[in-house]
């Protein structure tokens, strides 16, 4: 029971966390990041390498780089966030000054480069051989099996709660209002003396750091990372979540994330009960429905299920 519950709640929560990061970039600031998979991947790989330490088993040709002494899991997760955020800032500096669709194309290209590096640098990331034996939090205290899964579920929900509270606080702060001002009208915001570039850069960096956290949780839950997990196409389910839930509304994104995961989880469950010929096509049908949802929401309800609230600061009410 706990196993099944964790099997649903943990991946759904991870999807919600990374969608919250995307919501800060796209929903609040209007930055189209098409490389979500890359930032999640950087988080996952840096967490995996730092927390398992250097690993070599030359007999079977299995290695990956890491520190000689494995890092503590918390420090590794923090490092994953910092590295993902730093990569985001690095790619954003040249591209943020340009049009929105240039950022999309540049981040999509970055995602492809990052995936190629994960896949091919075997001595560094483990490459095709995958990176395994990634530790979980409280591994030494709790016996493995349902209990450890249950604990992990709590850790995930706590991380979601933390990310949600921080994001809710910062998006209501003057900084968050400035972000929305940049999204609505960048020139007008600059005319009011705000530094739009720095605002966009910080928003992008923080969003990428949250995606890095999601990647670290994903690596820790699966205990193994496969490079093709982070194919560029994986990005777009996060967009469906944000647009379905309501871009610019953190609560909506949480709702959208769980709804969306419920949908893909259901198709996975249905697969057990249908003949194998249909079984194969069900995955594609799932993706077709995702695409149709994206189009239908953009056409008829671009504000999503829970639209963004227009609130005024207390002083102006």
């Amino acid at each position: 029971m706990v196993l099944q519950l964790a099997g649903f709640v943990v991946p759904a929560t991870i999807l919600v966390i990374l969608s919250l990061g995307l919501n800060l970039q796209w929903g609040h600031t209007g930055l189209f990041n098409a490389g979500v998979a890359a930032f999640v991947g950087v988080g996952a790989y840096s967490f995996g390498m730092l927390s398992t330490g250097k690993f070599a088993s030359p007999g079977v040709g299995w290695y990956h780089w890491g520190p000689d002494q494995p890092w503590h899991i918390v420090y590794a997760a923090l490092a994953a966030m910092v590295l993902a955020g730093a990569l985001g800032v690095l790619i954003a500096i040249p591209t943020l000054r340009l049009r929105a669709d240039y950022l999309a194309i540049a981040t999509l290209a970055l995602a492809e480069i990052v995936r190629l590096v994960f896949k091919n640098e075997r001595h560094f990331t483990g490459g095709d051989q995958n990176l395994s034996f990634i530790p979980r939090p409280f591994q030494s205290l709790v016996p493995s099996g349902p209990y450890l899964d249950g604990v992990f579920m709590l850790v995930c929900v706590a991380a979601l709660l933390g990310a949600f509270l921080v994001l809710e606080y910062v998006t209501r702060s003057p900084w968050g209002r400035n972000l929305r001002a940049v999204r609505e009208d960048e020139e007008a915001t600059m005319a009011l003396g705000k530094d739009a570039f720095t605002l966009k850069l910080t928003s992008f960096g923080i969003g990428c750091a949250i995606m890095g956290l999601a990647g670290a949780l994903l690596a820790s839950f699966n205990q193994v990372i496969v490079p093709d997990q982070f194919a560029p196409a994986a990005t777009f389910s996060a967009y469906v979540v944000v647009i379905l839930g309501g871009s610019g509304n953190n609560r909506g994104v949480i709702l959208g994330g769980y709804l969306f995961y419920l949908f893909s989880w259901t198709t996975q469950q249905v697969k057990g009960y249908v003949p194998s010929d249909v079984n194969l096509r069900l995955d594609y049908l799932n993706q077709i429905i995702v695409g149709v949802l994206l189009i239908v929401f953009i056409l008829f309800r671009p504000e999503g299920v829970l639209p963004e609230k227009k609130y005024l600061p207390a002083a102006m009410r």
């Binding site: 669709d101 967009y239 594609y284 949802l293």
Partner: protein, 371 residues
């Protein structure tokens, strides 16, 4: 004046020569510089790596000519609709599968396959415009971009659901590669020759259409300024539909050509989409002529980096020629950094002007408190 100096278009030179009316300065267009730069790179690499570079250049021109077809179509819709169509690659895939249906399942000649693919994808484009993109006209570029991502998912997975994900082959039997003289280089008459011939023919068609026909002039007018085009009596709706027809059929032909060279699989178009975007960006968004140069450059750079990264394998990089796309993407990112308007695009600021704008923006303006 030396040829190299003559190409500089920095404003300082302009101002200096503004008083000097008698000298007429001959300024080389930027695309000539881009081509010279690529030729120089090929020369340097040839000196280092030898013959494989020349073979890679030939391959690059062939692949590049396919990118040219994809990129000029994408650039046409980009110019008029003002959004990046992420479904363009999947329109190529649909074209390849349409040709597969006629060529293998029905068993007809591949030429019929080309025609059927072009018609199918043109209709897909018209349908998308009528059903989706026309409704999003007033909502800015990113809404349409997201919708096109949705379209891309639908097309890609519909193709997978119908044909499954097996790799399929068209019923084309290309002859053996033949050697070019005693140079040790080889060339394939069908995979290389026909591809180049088809894309040159289509590009010439596009050029004459844009330049001399009423439709082509209307398309350029709409891309330049939609409102102005409307006031001069052009019906943009029809022009946009024709743009989708041309862009779609070009995408289909590119998809089939790619399928002849490689094979048919559902991610065929999605994987080349980034190269096509890179070609469009290097050429300058919305300029079909830029897309032509950009496509060839990207194709050549991709195949050259195959050789270069392959040589680095075992020394620095483990992946070797797996990093083939990286060279093309790096060129794209460099262009975005230093010349975001592209080779054929309109230059909005000179580099000096951009620096001044930056300095002005970051200067702190002191505001005196009243009283």
């Amino acid at each position: 004046m030396a040829l190299g100096m003559a190409g500089r278009t920095s404003p300082r030179v302009d101002r200096a020569s503004a008083f000097d009316v008698s000298t007429t300065r001959f300024v080389l267009p930027r695309w000539v510089f881009a081509v010279l730069l690529v030729l120089a790179a090929i020369g340097v690499l040839w000196a280092i790596f030898g013959k494989p570079i020349l073979q890679a250049t030939i391959q690059g021109l062939v692949v590049g000519s396919i990118y040219v077809l994809g990129a000029s179509g994408l650039s046409l819709t980009y110019g008029i609709k003002k959004f990046a169509n992420f479904a363009h690659g999947d329109m190529m895939t649909v074209g390849a599968y349409a040709a597969f249906t006629i060529n293998v399942i029905v068993g007809q000649n591949i030429v019929l396959g080309f025609v059927f693919a072009a018609i199918t994808v043109a209709l897909v484009g018209v349908f998308l415009e009528l059903a989706i993109f026309r409704r999003l006209e007033t909502r800015g570029p990113v809404s349409a971009l997201i919708a096109s991502v949705g379209v891309s998912l639908v097309l890609q997975n519909a193709v997978s659901a119908i044909f499954k994900t097996n790799v399929l082959y068209l019923n084309v039997n290309p002859p053996q590669d033949f050697a070019i003289g005693a140079t040790g280089l080889s060339f394939n008459a069908v995979k290389g020759g026909v591809t180049l011939a088809v894309s040159v023919a289509l590009i010439l068609f596009l050029h004459f259409m844009l330049k001399y026909t009423t439709l082509g002039k209307a398309m350029r007018a709409c891309a330049d300024n939609l409102d102005l085009a409307r006031t001069s009596g052009i019906n943009p709706r029809n022009v946009i539909l024709w743009t989708w027809i041309i862009s779609g059929s070009f995408a289909a032909v590119a998809g089939v050509l790619l399928a002849v060279i490689v094979n048919v699989y559902p991610l065929l178009g999605f994987f080349v989409l980034l190269f096509i975007f890179a070609a469009v960006i290097i050429g300058g968004i919305g300029s079909p002529y830029g897309a032509m140069i950009g496509g060839l450059i990207i194709g050549v750079v991709q195949k050259l980096s195959n050789v270069v990264f392959g040589a680095l394998q075992g020394r620095i990089l483990e992946g070797g020629s797996e990093y083939e796309p990286v060279g093309a993407f790096v060129v794209m990112i460099l262009v975005l950094l230093f010349m975001p308007e592209g080779i054929m695009g309109v230059r909005r600021h000179s580099i000096g002007g951009r620096l001044t704008a930056l300095l002005v923006r970051h200067r702190q303006i002191e505001v005196k408190e009243p009283g």
